[in-house]
């Protein structure tokens, strides 16, 4: 338990050789999945099945199956969308921002976090596409294309910015992920014993030869991608927050929203990454590569961003009081003490109070307590989006139309289905692709880089 923070900790523990690292990461793909895996998969597939039924009901009967109605016209669809997009932000943060900051410890978790980004954005996309009703013609009004009416999308609308931001984010994350996978595909191609797997890996490795003349451009491209992904990841949740902040509804119309949303996204994303990694490192014996130090560092990020989010909550109240605007003041008092006070206090306790335990080093490094706290954070961040969306809408300017929003079973079904999709994809990913970047971890292992006096200097 006594760790000396004055010295840089080894990124890979246990003094593994390069070949051992290789075998350790590649093993889950060569072994047949065991019983536990199938139990887990059948559980997530059942969640996905519930979601599929709910989506089918929504498509057949229309979005009237959902609980949102006047005055709460935006509810579960936007709440879940923002929740999932937020989850995605940890992956790009780890792979891009921590890369630019030269944080070597990111190598052990970057691949997994990036995969979670991609899956989370896929889950997020379900909701805006479903809410368009007939989603097979959604492309007609979501994208600018030449048409006989000579009509174009409204480029001044935050909703169309959202379409561009989220689709760019998905495309860039996918490309970034794939570029990282190319050398690993080549390594797998050269180590696998199966003929079919070899053909598949060859196709995806594009014929990578580990040549240094290629590595040189490759490293450059990785840096360029990281340089672009960094502002991109900040822009995506900023633009998502514009969906609210650009409107003139009290409770939404605040300039603090962009930084507040970005901090919240990183907060929830890291919580989700820690939640999943705790299980993955245990099940696939990756404790030496995804070490307890990694988890501790992520917990520190959760603590820091959690306090940023707490600051934003307080600042919203301060501005409501300081502005002297009675309607703004009503919205916030109603948020904390009105009909949705239960949701507000769940949010505050999960997001602001529980992460404070991470000040204690023992808790930061204790797996069971950590798991509990990050699950609370996940719940709290979902409620944050719920509180922002629903409490601002349910008391509108006309008291006669005040109402109370209650989600329907179909609403819950689609939400459960999105979790099913996410965890099904995560499970499939752990068995089909290396969950840790093989080449990056090798490069930061002890003795992997030339010593200053050894290389004929």
């Amino acid at each position: 338990m006594n760790i000396d923070y004055s010295q840089e900790l080894p990124v890979v523990e246990g003094r593994l050789t390069l070949r051992e690292i290789n075998d350790l990461i590649a093993r889950p793909m060569d072994e047949r999945p065991n019983k536990k895996y199938f139990i887990a998969l059948s559980f997530t597939l059942s969640l996905l099945f519930i979601g599929a039924i709910s989506v089918a009901l929504t498509l057949y009967y229309g979005i009237g199956m959902w609980g949102n109605n006047q005055p709460v016209g935006w509810a579960f669809d936007i709440v879940n969308f923002v929740f999932w997009v937020g989850i995605g932000h940890a992956g790009t943060l780890i792979s891009a921002i921590l890369f630019l900051l030269r944080q070597k410890w990111r190598t052990g978790i970057a691949r997994f976090a990036e995969a979670m980004t991609i899956f989370a954005v896929m889950c997020a996309a379900i909701f805006p596409i479903l809410h368009t009703g007939r989603m097979w013609v959604a492309v007609v009004y979501l994208l600018p294309y030449p048409n006989q009416h000579s009509l174009w999308v409204n480029f001044s609308s935050p909703l169309i910015w959202d379409v561009f931001a989220v689709s760019t984010y998905f495309a860039v994350s996918l490309v970034f992920w794939y570029v990282g996978l190319i050398p690993d595909f080549a390594t797998l191609r050269d180590t696998t014993a199966s003929k079919i797997k070899k053909v598949i890996y060859s196709i995806f490795s594009l014929g990578w030869r580990h040549s240094h003349r290629n590595w040189q451009h490759y490293e450059k491209s990785y840096m360029l991608l990281a340089g672009f992904a960094t502002p991109l990841v900040l822009s995506v949740h900023t633009i998502v927050s514009f969906d609210f902040a650009v409107s003139i509804l009290p409770g939404w119309h605040t300039t603090i929203f962009p930084p507040y949303f970005v901090a919240g996204a990183i907060f929830s994303g890291f919580a989700m990454v820690v939640t999943v990694l705790i299980f993955v490192r245990k099940i696939f014996d990756l404790e030496n590569i995804i070490t307890i130090n990694h988890l501790e560092k992520m917990n520190k990020v959760i603590l820091a961003t959690g306090m940023m989010v707490g600051y934003a909550y307080a600042m919203e109240f301060f501005i409501a009081w300081y502005s002297g605007n009675p309607i703004e003041q009503f919205v916030f008092i109603n948020r904390a003490f009105g009909p949705y006070a239960w949701a507000y206090w769940i949010m505050v306790s999960c997001n602001v109070i529980f992460p404070q335990f991470f000040w204690i080093k023992k808790i930061r490094r204790s797996i069971p307590i950590m798991l509990m706290i990050v699950i609370f954070v996940n719940i709290g961040m979902w409620f944050e989006r719920f509180v922002i969306t629903v409490t601002s809408l349910h008391r509108d300017f006309l008291p006669s139309s005040w109402g109370y929003y209650t989600p329907t079973l179909v609403d819950f079904g689609v939400l459960i289905g999105s979790f099913g999709l996410f965890f099904t994809l995560v499970l499939l990913f752990t068995k089909t692709l290396p969950v840790v970047s093989i080449s990056e971890v090798k490069a930061v292992a002890e003795g992997a880089q030339p010593s200053h006096n050894g290389g004929d200097h």
């Binding site: 390069l18 609308s157 169309i160 180590t191 014929g207 003349r213 040189q216 991608l225 010593s451 050894g454």
Partner: protein, 388 residues
């Protein structure tokens, strides 16, 4: 058998990153050009050891990033100001701040995609799974934990013995000769391949047909008509009389309605007093309403000269001493209540409009019976510049 094959190059394996840096440095210094270093991960300092010029990949990124920004801005400019200009939120057609997000996203999208596609195709010449180095034992080692250096046969200074000696001196753990593989004989007209093509063609045609002819014409859901509310004239089981349409509760008063206490009374003795002053706005309202509702019978100036050419009995003049001596409240009472053949106007005129008409009638009466003082007052008024 190996003798018949063409040699691609000679490759050596090394055990440590220090050894491969030293080997690369020596080979570069000896003047070899066509050689390559292979390592499972990028080894630091190798660019310097191989004397590689800096990567030019950044220029691709720059060019496509700038074009992304330009395409986005020009496209939005064209659609929003030229092709279909529309005022949105009272902002100018070309409102730059609103165009920044999309411009930024398109810049990032084009820059990153072009970087990766450019790198893979123009810098690596990928995909290339038929390179001679694939599937050799050498490749299988450098893929995992060894560091390799391969000098190719088309180098000017290529000499097998010299290179073997050089590699051994540099501490190679294994030296391997790499040959070009046998030419692969791939038949295009193979049944499996043709079958795959046919399946793809069938799938694409069927899905395109279904999309264009069926899915796009699906009837949108039409259960919106089927709602729980009561339609006009429909019956309801909720009420005893089965009527869906209900009368307002007894004693219900409409918003803005003020009950009139002399309804149906003839010439009330103490009528209401006029709450409105004859301001300019009030009088112009009165004039407008008088001309619309009163003048057809009472005449434009209140003389009782109807425009109706005898279709309706003529009313008495408003300039009689009776009506001039009446209180405002009496005139108001007639408008609300009606008198003789004149009907009530309470449903057509609001309270304010009725009082405005009363004020306007007072103006007409005073104009018809102007005193000497009134005429002096008018003569004092400055002459306007309105020409006749």
């Amino acid at each position: 058998m190996e003798q018949n094959k063409k040699v691609f190059g000679i490759a050596a394996l090394y055990d440590s990153p220090n050894a491969i840096i030293k080997a690369a440095k020596t080979v570069t210094d000896k003047g070899y050009k066509n050689f390559d270093v292979h390592s499972p991960y990028p080894v630091h300092g190798m660019d310097k050891a191989m004397k590689l010029p800096p990567s030019k990949l950044g220029f691709v990124t720059l060019a496509f990033g700038l074009s992304g920004a330009a395409i986005a801005l020009l496209f939005m400019y064209w659609t929003m100001t030229i092709d279909y200009p529309m005022i949105i939120g009272g902002k100018p057609f070309f409102s730059l701040p609103a165009f920044i997000p999309v411009t930024f996203e398109l810049t990032v999208l084009l820059a990153t995609l072009s970087t990766v596609i450019g790198m893979v195709t123009f810098f690596f010449y990928f995909p290339n799974n038929s390179h001679p180095i694939h599937d050799t034992n050498y490749m299988k080692s450098v893929s995992i934990d060894k560091f390799g250096l391969c000098i190719e046969a088309d180098d000017e200074k290529f000499n097998e013995e010299e290179i073997n000696k050089l590699f051994t001196d540099l501490g190679a753990i294994k030296i391997e000769k790499i040959f070009f593989p046998d030419k692969l004989n791939v038949k295009i007209l193979e049944p499996k391949f043709i079958g795959l093509l046919l399946i793809v063609a069938a799938f694409v045609s069927v899905s395109t047909y279904l999309h264009l002819n069926k899915v796009l014409y699906l009837v949108p859901f039409n259960w919106m008509m089927d709602q729980g509310r009561l339609d006009v004239q429909s019956s309801s089981e909720l009420f005893g009389d089965k009527f869906g349409m209900r009368n307002p509760v007894k004693g219900t008063v409409a918003r803005g309605f003020m009950p009139y206490e002399y309804q149906g009374v003839n010439e009330p003795t103490s009528p209401l007093s006029n709450p409105y002053l004859p301001t300019k706005e009030n009088l112009s309202l009165g004039e407008k309403k008088y001309n619309s509702f009163c003048s057809p019978c009472h005449g434009n100036l209140g003389d009782g000269d109807s425009r109706l050419r005898g279709q309706f009995p003529l009313p008495p003049s408003l300039h009689s001493s009776k009506s001039r001596d009446w209180l405002d409240g009496n005139l108001y009472h007639v408008i609300v209540n009606g008198q003789n053949v004149m009907p009530s106007y309470s449903s057509q005129l609001s309270r304010e409009e009725r009082w405005a008409i009363v004020n306007y009638i007072r103006v007409l009466q005073r104009a018809k019976n102007a005193s000497e003082a009134d005429i002096q007052e008018i003569k004092k008024e400055p002459v306007t510049n309105v020409s006749e």
